[in-house]
């Protein structure tokens, strides 16, 4: 088997956390590491990188080909355990990394965690001796790779949707804004990939671009309910997580009932149905919390059944115009069904309308 052997420095950052620092010819990177593209295999998330941005790559390429280029920040590579560190005799921290080279693109020993654009530029550029600094760690654990990827990239603007989709598959401590989203993102992931969920494959994410409802709309409604509504009842304040099964049941019962009561509006493109639109999702999310509160009395563990949700939603039918007609928000405020926008003002109007009608006509 062919190998590349490079002098390397071993840096111990904690028990079992070793980092290797070395340099490698820019052109050789492609033979030891590949890029892990985010995708799904049978509802299982694999990979984590977004597609390359060619403009950005061309800029780096042009710079690399300039007279005296310098790239001080290292690539970050996650190696699998086929890569070995051989310490030198006198000092355990110095030694050599032995990296096997494997033909073909599939099973390179390394995955680029940070620096995919730079790596691509080096592949394309007309350079031969440029040495690139690399920081590497060795793990066979794809979760650890993902975590490093998020940690390294969360300061740069990665597409939010991609981060949210990766979040449930991590455990490490992240920036608190991300930390807070991890649990809601996990619920979303379950809703989107359980076959018995009314949202099965309906939520649009990085790996499910054909989904109809925007991931952000669902995340927002889950978060709102965790903080202010039905899901709060199943939440664990100490950890920010909770009884996820009970939460999924509430969500599936309610949205299942929505799909029963409004079949003409369910699973349509947002253009054809305001229900599947950010405004409809947010407002109905609030209605879920409202209906839940009507049936769920304090100290009573029982949830609310699909039938109960359905019964109340049926009575709301006359006031809803998801796919045609006009919303009647008040005497001087009539809005054509498809004039409703996903903006704060419209969302509030719709929410107020649904909740007022519910309180006045159903709950009483």
């Amino acid at each position: 088997m062919n190998t590349i052997i490079v002098p390397a420095l071993k840096i111990e950052q904690g028990p079992g956390r070793a980092l290797f620092s070395f340099a490698i010819k820019g052109k050789e990177i492609q033979s030891i590491a590949s890029i892990s593209r985010v995708k799904r295999h049978e509802d299982e998330l694999v990979g984590y990188q977004r597609p390359e941005v060619s403009n950005h790559i061309n800029e780096i390429k042009r710079y690399l080909e300039s007279e005296n280029p310098m790239i001080p920040n290292a690539l970050v590579i996650a190696f699998n355990s086929s890569v070995k560190f051989v310490p030198s005799d006198h000092n355990k921290s110095f030694g050599e990394l032995v990296i096997p080279i494997i033909e073909g693109d599939d099973s390179k020993p390394g995955l680029i965690v940070d620096g995919q654009q730079r790596a691509a530029a080096m592949r394309e550029a007309d350079i031969d001796s440029f040495q690139m600094p690399v920081s590497a760690f060795i793990t066979d654990d794809s979760q650890e790779q993902r975590e490093q990827f998020i940690l390294v990239n969360s300061t740069k603007p990665l597409p939010k949707g991609l981060i949210y989709e990766l979040l449930p598959y991590t455990e490490t401590k992240l920036a608190s804004s991300l930390q807070k989203r991890r649990f809601p993102a996990r619920i979303l992931d379950e809703l989107n990939h359980r076959k018995d969920s009314p949202f099965y494959q309906l939520i649009q994410t990085a790996t499910n671009p054909s989904g109809l409802v925007k991931d952000n709309s669902i995340l927002k409604l889950i978060e709102a309910s965790l903080n202010e509504g039905a899901l709060y009842n199943y939440r664990d304040a100490a950890t920010g997580t909770g009884d996820i099964e009970a939460m999924i049941i509430v969500l599936c019962n309610f949205w299942g009932a929505v799909s029963d009561v409004f079949p003409e509006a369910w699973a349509k493109k947002p253009k054809e149905s305001r229900l599947m639109h950010g405004a409809g999702m947010t407002a109905l999310g609030q209605l879920m919390d409202e209906i839940f509160a009507r049936y769920h009395i304090d100290q009573q563990k029982e949830g609310v059944s699909r039938e109960q949700f359905k019964q109340d939603l049926e009575q709301m039918k006359p006031y809803c115009h998801w796919t045609n007609g006009t919303w009647n928000f008040g005497e001087d405020d009539k809005v054509k069904w498809n004039d409703l926008q996903n903006i704060t003002k419209d969302i509030q109007k719709l929410t107020n309308h649904l909740l007022r009608k519910y309180r006045m006509e159903v709950w009483k």
Binding site: E228, G229, A238, G240, D289, E290, L355, R359
Partner: protein
Amino acid sequence: MKFFFPDSHDYVDPSFNFETEKNNEHRVIQRDDKYAHELFSKPVYDGILVSKAIVDGVKGVQGRYSVAQRQRFFREGIYRFFRLPKHYLTMGDCGAFSYAKEYEPIYTVDEVNEFYSNSGFTYGISLDHIIFDFETPKKKVTGKQLEECLRRQEITLEKAEEFLIKNKDMSFAPYGVAHGWSPESYADSVIKLQKIGYDRIALGGMIPLKSSEILNVLKCINNIRNTKTQFHLLGVNRLEHIAEFSNYGVTSFDSTSPLMRGLKDDKKNYHTATEDYTAIGVPQVDANNNMRKLVASGSINQNEAFKLEKACLESLIGFEKGVVAKKEVLSALTEYEKLYNSKASRVDLMDKVLTDQPWKKCPCDVCKDIGIHVILKRAAARNRRRGFHNLYVAYEKLQSELNKMNQVK
């Protein structure tokens, strides 16, 4: 005499750790937090007052409540939302100050009614429009100014009439609002409100008035008030006049003043029954606005500031534990103070507080719980708790005034 506390999201995070200065990162704001009535083992108010404007916001400006919080407020009603035991009273008002600049009130009577009855208030105050002017012997209200006062008084009375008519089906007890620009005009309002049928009347617009002016108004009204008429003083907190107020038919008042002074007052922000103290400033280098400006402009070195800030906190905590001498604490404090305070040093005031240690004598739950931290002027976790302590002291004062009154009788 009942004291109402006007709430505007005044709660504290019970998970805040005063030594590490961290809170539980998973906390849900408001739901996992504690209000003053949850923090103290005995009441510090008889009821709370909540404004529609605080909950709903006004014209394009969001209120203090998030959209989801507001919906839960309506869903749960005021008692469940505030986790307020049923024996507390609740009062709703419109928050006239927030729309005082508008030509007319921004709500309708129906909207106000819906707000009060959906939320389950004990009392609801009718829709009003603030009058800003007040006559003094030197400065009469005349001309255009007088016209505007009259117009606003008229609006307030009209709304009060409509409010009372529609109150028949409502679950809360109504208050009419009297506004005026002189004792006589206040009396006119009260006469009309009594005629409309009110026996509960709130007196508005008195916050900027001197105590003597308020008493003059009450004296004048006293001549025409029906014996069963009860008054509520909006936003007024003059505990030293409780007995007089009571003689003139005042049965309740509300004020945020004790809390606000704990948060904002520069000199007397920690109250006791006998004396008011100054809190010890230990501004946060990375969160205090003034400090941030000083760092950003390069006038102080950030590392140096961090070091001094930390030294202050450590010596204060050490002082509380009895392992650091007062002298050392004061030298750390003055050293730090030089960085951020270009005015006269407050070292004498700080010395006084550290000598008297008033928090050690205070029986309130906040002081018992957080000790010396209550006297540190440093971010909401401490400042708002100090405000709560002041509420406790104010309510105790009120109770002792009321006891004195009863003994006289």
